[in-house]
């Protein structure tokens, strides 16, 4: 099955390939109407489709951008992927999506792969790890890629000067915690994600800040790390309750965790929000359908992806290598307002 090339079209239409090229590319070149018609007809008949590789080679523009996510099946990342893929298409680009399976090693490999594909930019959705070892390797790789003139944007902090499009996670943690405090909660537990991921550290820092700002007790016993899944959220909540905590609310570091927490509490017959209030971060697509509907901070996930693509495609400039997008707390039914603050026994 030999593919039809621009020569075939030119021959059959009795014109030069230059003319054909001008016509398919809609170049603002003066071409007589009837010639254009004739050539277009031949293109139709022959089912001619320009060869992308040749075009790319000639123009050295791949019109492709890479996206590296940790787990495309996690709504957090799939929401980002949606923003990236849709916007890329809109701007005439293709998105190559890579799933690292939360494996740092794979993430590096994908970076090389993407580089080899000649993408014009790479968006890395996952946040950086705190352990210095992997982060050095990561930074070297990134530096090397950027030196080749291809852009890299991260969607969560990596502790370096890589261009960042994200949300202020420290402030976010603070705001979410303050939301609880304002509603009368004084004894609040924190169920976190991977404590080794910078994003989670920031959120926890914010949580702590809000507490000390209000001179409220920060009880380390009630701060439990875990990971960003419902299954672990369930387990972590179990661990928390094994301590018989004196709390009126739990701050979950993301919605997945909250889902697990909600299930645990339900099974134990603990009512939300009557007995315990739950708040989290994310506002994933199904979070308004949980039982009860979750009060959570809506992350601009789609927009994060969208803006990054705009930047890579040169439609938007970035100042100071950093762009922080706004978020908002969506109040639903999982947080109760307490009139009389509960005191530690």
């Amino acid at each position: 099955v030999k593919r039809v090339s621009i020569f075939d079209v030119a021959e059959k239409a009795n014109v030069s390939i230059a003319t054909v090229s001008r016509i398919v590319n809609n170049a603002d070149y003066p071409i007589s109407v009837k010639l254009r018609k004739r050539v277009q007809k031949v293109i139709e008949e022959l089912n001619y489709v320009p060869n992308r590789s040749a075009q790319q080679l000639r123009t050295s523009s791949s019109r492709a951008i890479g996206l590296v996510v940790r787990d495309i099946a996690d709504p957090y990342f799939s929401q980002i992927a949606k923003g990236v893929t849709e916007t890329a298409m809109e701007l005439g680009h293709m998105a190559l999506v890579c799933n690292s399976e939360r494996n740092a090693r794979f993430e590096y490999n994908y970076l090389d792969l993407l580089l080899h594909q000649g993408v014009e930019g790479i968006i890395i959705a996952g946040g950086g790890y705190a352990d210095g070892n992997s982060s050095v390797e990561f930074q070297n790789k990134v530096a090397k890629i950027r030196k080749q003139g291809i852009q890299i944007i991260v969607l969560a902090p990596h502790g370096t000067d890589i261009p960042l499009v994200s949300v202020d996670n420290v402030k976010l943690g603070e705001d979410v915690c303050s939301f609880l405090i304002e509603r009368g909660h004084r004894n609040i537990a924190y169920i976190g994600g991977d404590p080794n991921v910078l994003t989670d550290r920031d959120r926890l820092r914010g949580f702590k800040n809000a507490l000390v700002n209000q001179s409220l007790p920060y009880n380390e016993d009630y701060v439990i790390p875990g990971s960003y899944t419902a299954a672990v959220g369930y387990k972590t909540c179990e661990a928390l309750f094994s301590k018989k905590p004196n709390i009126s609310a739990i701050f979950c570091s993301n919605d997945n965790i909250a889902v697990g927490v909600l299930r645990f509490l339900h099974e134990k017959g603990i009512l939300v929000p009557d007995d315990i209030s739950i708040i989290s971060i994310g506002d994933l697509p199904d979070s308004d359908h949980s039982i009860p509907p979750l009060t959570t901070a809506r992350l601009p996930l789609f927009e994060l992806g969208r803006q990054s693509v705009h930047i890579i495609c040169g439609e938007k400039m970035m100042q100071d290598q950093i762009l922080l997008l706004p978020y908002m707390i969506v109040e639903r039914k999982s947080v109760k307002t307490i009139r009389e603050p509960v005191h530690i026994s």
Copy 2:
């Protein structure tokens, strides 16, 4: 920023480009060890990465495959995407993912785009529509693409002879309904997805089959179409209950719908499974964390994506243009076994 080419390497290493090419491609070509070492060192130093476009042009193999999904943020599709992207990488290919936003028009456009990208195959995740109009246009486009020698695989029926990797939806509908019947349920409602999508028609047909096979009543009043989202599932359930139905169970055509149904019932104080049993199809990642955990048929979503990629990459043959994968019903807590069958009033 000029990219370094094979010439730069050849020059600096004092060899011909042919030699460099052989070395980077690991061709089983006899090359003296020290020469290979020297060249590899230069490659390192120069950060040389072969130009994909040139390689593709020369070898006319894009090593790219396209994936068209309706909504990458829907766990159904993101699960498939996971199977596709991971497997593609494994087999040395890139996955180009396109999000059609459930718009048939966009779906066609993406097909063209993918064709233009020179992909080696296209996987279309969404099922076909029953309305003849769009389906004719779709079939023409597909035929045209296949004529160019590029493979297309659909992951849900389209009512035509396009290679299909899927699940037997009629049998699935039957099995799920039978599961309920075996547990004593006699009056069962069906809350469907888009009735215009072939997949949903098949499931409904299976539902009906199971009922008539057991000489049970098929009550059209209790069969309500909707769409594959939690929000619509909620609404549809509301519509169902406005009829004060005499039922002991609801068959939801997918997990998203079930999530909405669960929330509606919870709000109305109707207990699951004590008052009403719920079963559905999908077993999406969070379905074991719903309240109560959902009894549902596990679709081999990841595997659907995985197998399709294997076929496209020529690692696996397909017989009769159709490959049906197994599923299984995962029993959790949303279905109650009724000892004494309920009778219609």
